[in-house]
Structure formats: C-alpha cells, structure tokens
Symmetry: C2
Subunit: 146 residues, 2 copies
DNA sequence: ATACAGTCTACAGTCACTATAGAGGCAAGC
DNA sequence: GCTTGCCTCTATAGTGACTGTAGACTGTAT
C-alpha cells in the first residue's frame, strides 16, 4: 500500500516519466498527491489507468478518444454502445490507412522493379515519381506520416 | 514565357500557396525572383520541381528524403543506386507500417466482434483494451499517428 | 560524507504543414 | 479616378503526441 514515485509508476505501466507528466498537464491523468518535498505519489489505481491508456494508444486510439473511453468507464452502468462505436470508428480509420499504404506499397514495388541500374538521368524510379499521376488511377489523399 | 505568381504556380502544381512558401523557408524550393512590388515570380522549372515534390510526398517520402532525391537529380550522370536505395528504404518503412496496422486491424475486429452489447461494466471492448498484453504475442511498437 | 540516481519546473523542439491577422498590390468594371 | 474583390506579403501561433534540455533540488546507498 505504499505509494509509488513517478519513476516506479513509469516502470510499472511501461510509460516514460515525461509522458506521465505530459498526460497530467493535458488532464488524461489526474493530479496526484504530493510528498512533503513535492514529489508525485501514485497508487495501484494509477498503474491501472496508465496501463489502460498505454494499451489504448498501442491500438491507435487518439488521446481524445481515450478521454472518452475513460469517461465512459467511470459510468459502468451505461450502455456499451458508445464504447463500441469509438472502437468501430477506430477500425474504420485503420482500414482507410491500410488501403492507402497498400496502394503505396504497390507503387513503390513497381518503381523499384523497373529500376535496372544505370545513370540517374535515365533512372526509372525518378521517372516514376515524375509521372506519378499516370501510375494508378486512384488518387492518393494527402498522406499522413508513416 | 511570362512568369507565374505564387497562386498560379499553386494551381499548376496543385500545392497550396502557404505550402509553397513553407517549402521555400525550409530550402526545398529555391528563393524565387521578385517583382518590383515584392511578389514571387516562378517559371516552368518551378512547376516541374514542385510537382516532383508533391508526387514524392504522395509516395510518403519525407522532406529530407526528397531533398536527397533533388540533389541526386541535379547530378544526372551519377549512379542510380543512391536513388534506388532511398526508394527501397521507403518501401521497407511502408511495409513495417503495414504489418503494424494489420495487427491492429485484427485486434480491433476481434474486440468488436466479442462485444455483444450490454452495460459498460461487462463490456468486452473495455476488457480487451485492459488485457491487451495477452491479445497477440507480438508487441506493438510505439504507434505513429494514423 | 559523498556519490549518484531520481525528481522538480519550465520551456523549446519535432514533423509537415495549417490558420490567422493585418497590410499592401493588381486588374476589371463603372 | 474609384471601387470592388481577389491576390499576395510578412510574421506568428497552432496542430498531435510527445521528446529533449537546463538547472536545481531530493532520496538513498555506501
């Protein structure tokens, strides 16, 4: 039952110390108790909450979505459908992104296969980037970072 | 042969005006001539360069990679292999990201399928996020934004 | 007593832009 | 010449989800 310092919480939930403090500033983690000298003190509840956050982040949920999930979690007798729809939405996003990346993969592969070496002047990879518009009928959306 | 203002260049290459100016500040586009009143003036060379940049961005290349590609482009009698390896590297990144997202898709689907409605207290989606560690043997890396 | 790891705050930097504010420029119609 | 209305200019701040840095204090082991 002894409280954890931020470093111990960090190891317990596998989230970096600086990230925990960041989560506090954005209101994702509550403001913890402090020791006499001002150090943050946490309990098992915090380990669980932080682990939940980490898992949700690993599943690609945005901070905002996680805030929603946590809010719903504290109202346990409500209907599950709100939770379900957040997850559904996340799946849709993941699938959109997958489709984009698959198109990219095809194009990069094609470019690279056509490259038979030689001088840059006649490089097929360069040509492919230049003629990108003609490569696939589908237009790419603005690409989010890899 | 009359020069283009930034707005015309923007429409010609399908890149936003603000983005062109941004590319100038980071040295991706050179500093253009100016009219007497200080407006930027561009030529067809700039349309081509900007289009190249846009195509490369659509293929997911980073700004730094594009800088490299442009540098190589201006040395046309060098070997093509440097270009090829930049493209190869990009393909590897795309494929890594694809694998990550496919794992995510499987997990989200499984979570959602298990959800049979009911109260949040017994919600399988919530449970799945909590028990995420046990879901798939593979560990997710830190996830980049969708 | 000293060394060293941990913790504190506050702020700047990342990436690739986007948005906003406020001022000045340019061409067409009246 | 004047007005209308879009175009362009600079400078600065914001985005998301953190990470990195500086400089000072704290806690613990030897």
């Amino acid at each position: 039952m002894k409280p954890l310092t931020i470093g111990r919480l960090s190891r317990a939930a596998n989230v970096k110390v600086t990230t925990i403090r960041y989560y506090e500033t954005i209101g994702l983690m509550g403001t913890p108790d402090r020791s006499a000298s001002g150090q943050r003190l946490y309990g098992m509840v915090d380990v669980e909450r932080l682990s939940f956050i980490r898992h949700a982040r690993e599943l690609g949920f945005s901070i905002d979505a996680i805030k929603d999930l946590i809010r719903l979690q504290t109202a346990p007798d409500q209907d599950c459908s709100a939770v379900d729809s957040i997850a559904q939405q996340q799946l849709v996003e993941v699938q959109k992104r997958l489709a984009q990346l698959e198109a990219l993969e095809r194009e990069l592969k094609r470019m690279i296969e056509n490259c038979r070496g030689g001088e840059i002047d006649g490089c097929q990879v360069m040509a492919a980037i230049n003629n990108h518009a003609e490569c696939e009928s589908e237009k790419h959306e603005r690409l989010k970072p890899l």
